[in-house]
Symmetry: C2
Subunit: 316 residues, 2 copies
């Protein structure tokens, strides 16, 4: 590789581990690593992150002191200027970590963003999205969120809430309350708990015995039942697809992306709800956007560090 | 004025007239003009537009041959690259007009955009929106549309459909069909016809005689009845406010703007539906966005040429 090629490290900080990648400007991944982490709120923990960056650079055959950019994504609400306003699922002193990184790599441009936004940017850049245009990636998991990429870059929004479509109303008639206090949010149907709830509703309506569900977010059990032809599971997955389609149709008339990407743990069940989602989307989307592709994500867990690296490269 | 100040002409093309303004880089309006127009599809018609630009520049004390930029907004679907794909309400040969303008003003950068998008950009720049951040301006009139401004510039979307929130579903239970073929679109409630329909529904439910409505889009009659305390008109306006709030809450979780602006002919009735809209928005919006301001537009018919000029200045 040409030594003049711009290179960035993407650091994807999760609740239990950090995944890092050394990435060149065109998206070539030169090296990756993964380390377990505890709380990220001490000089010792920050030093370990720097050691990781050093080791990664060495592994990729470059001097960490010559890195052009470092991108960091975290599971929390991050404003456009990189300020973290909320990170409920992790112990993280982001200001301390970024200060340490800036001191250790003064030559590198540093960018910070939300993890779902990083994944969306990664998929837009190198995965199922659109590199230069608009991509909206929906992440379906324990919660439901999205990253909104416009003109090849991801937007945070005025309060870091761009892409919070888990709380988009898709069912004004809903009587149960979402965690957020509202009723009828997409997350009430398209999260792991949401799918299980839909499934239990279908079983109750039919007087059918539900299959064994191991825990509150065991959506896999419902997907497997649907694959096996279980009528109620099939219907629950179809309803998930319908609600997701309603949400995507609302997003389409707002930002009209070039592509939708569906990712997150629940996207593993795309075979059970994707067809219903696509069909219903074409029914309810405005005509100009009916052919906008909706594709499952393709980068898996690499999307985060790739998107973080991209964000940092774009800030150069 | 310093002769080195960058200056643009904004040309707002409507169905029956063209409004133009000579605008300096900080938004100072140096001159305006308005001319009636017929079809814009002949050399003669294009020449008249150029004459208008010349006269406007002269009126503003500058040489038209030294204009830095020209922005043109049209009532149709315009892609990011300035291509017009649909303009149902006007006879317009946009390619011919832009060719003529490019030949007449070869030194000027030329930008083309949709009229609702221009109005949104104008309000973001100099009116009720946010100049550098995100603004979504909803235009309520015969139809319902919006312009979505991100980072101080307006987006067109992959198919020119960004901001087409007139076709955002706000009522999944609706049985009547919208012009677009779907059911429950915002336009079915928040357009002039929509408000009249809501009003007639309220009258029918109460067995009350409706006030005189002069024509199919005479929303003014309903606003005036509401101002006079007519119970059914008050309720119809409140329902309009509720549906608008639902749509804005969906937009908020997608792009999280700094401000919402409500414009168009129907915004003259803001006093009758604004309070209901604000109150319901705070009930249904995600918590991070509950305090996002929703304000009536403040530039009136000047928003279009100001936004067109701004777009052209941003392209320099």
């Amino acid at each position: 590789m040409d030594k003049k090629t711009t290179k960035a490290v993407g650091i994807d900080i999760g609740g239990t581990s950090i995944k890092m990648g050394l990435v060149a400007e065109r998206g070539e991944v030169l090296a990756t690593s993964k380390v377990s982490t505890g709380a990220l709120d001490s000089d010792g923990a920050f030093a370990k992150v720097c050691e990781g960056v050093h080791a990664l650079a060495e592994q990729g055959g470059i001097d960490a002191g010559k890195l052009d950019a470092i991108g960091l994504d975290v599971p929390g609400v991050v404003l456009e200027d990189g300020t973290l306003t909320m990170a409920p699922n992790i112990t993280l002193d982001l200001a301390g970590l970024t200060t340490t990184l800036r001191e250790a790599y003064p030559q590198a441009s540093l960018a910070v963003l939300n993890d779902a936004n990083a994944a969306a940017l990664g998929e837009a850049w190198l995965g199922s999205g659109n590199a230069r245009g608009g991509t909206v990636m929906v992440t379906l998991g324990t919660g439901v969120g999205a990253g909104v990429v416009i003109g090849g870059n991801v937007i945070a929004g005025a309060h870091g809430a761009a892409g919070e479509i888990g709380h988009l109303n898709v069912e004004p008639e809903e009587t149960e309350t979402c965690n957020c206090g509202c009723r009828g949010c997409l997350e009430q149907y398209a999260s792991a708990r949401g799918l299980i709830r839909l499934y239990r509703e279908e079983c109750e309506a039919d007087g059918a015995e539900p299959v064994a569900i191991a825990h509150a977010t065991d959506a896999l059990a419902v997907f497997e039942a649907a694959r096996g032809g279980n009528t109620q599971a099939v219907r629950a997955c179809e309803r998930l697809g319908h609600y997701l389609a309603r949400a995507l149709a609302a997003v389409a008339v707002t930002v009209d992306p070039d592509a939708f990407v569906v990712g997150g743990g629940m996207s593993g069940g795309w075979d059970t709800f994707g067809r219903a989602c696509l069909a219903h989307y074409r029914e309810v989307a405005v005509s100009a956007c009916k052919d906008t592709p909706i594709r499952p994500a393709s980068l898996g867990n690499d999307a985060g560090f790739l998107g973080a690296a991209r964000r940092a490269l774009l800030s150069l």
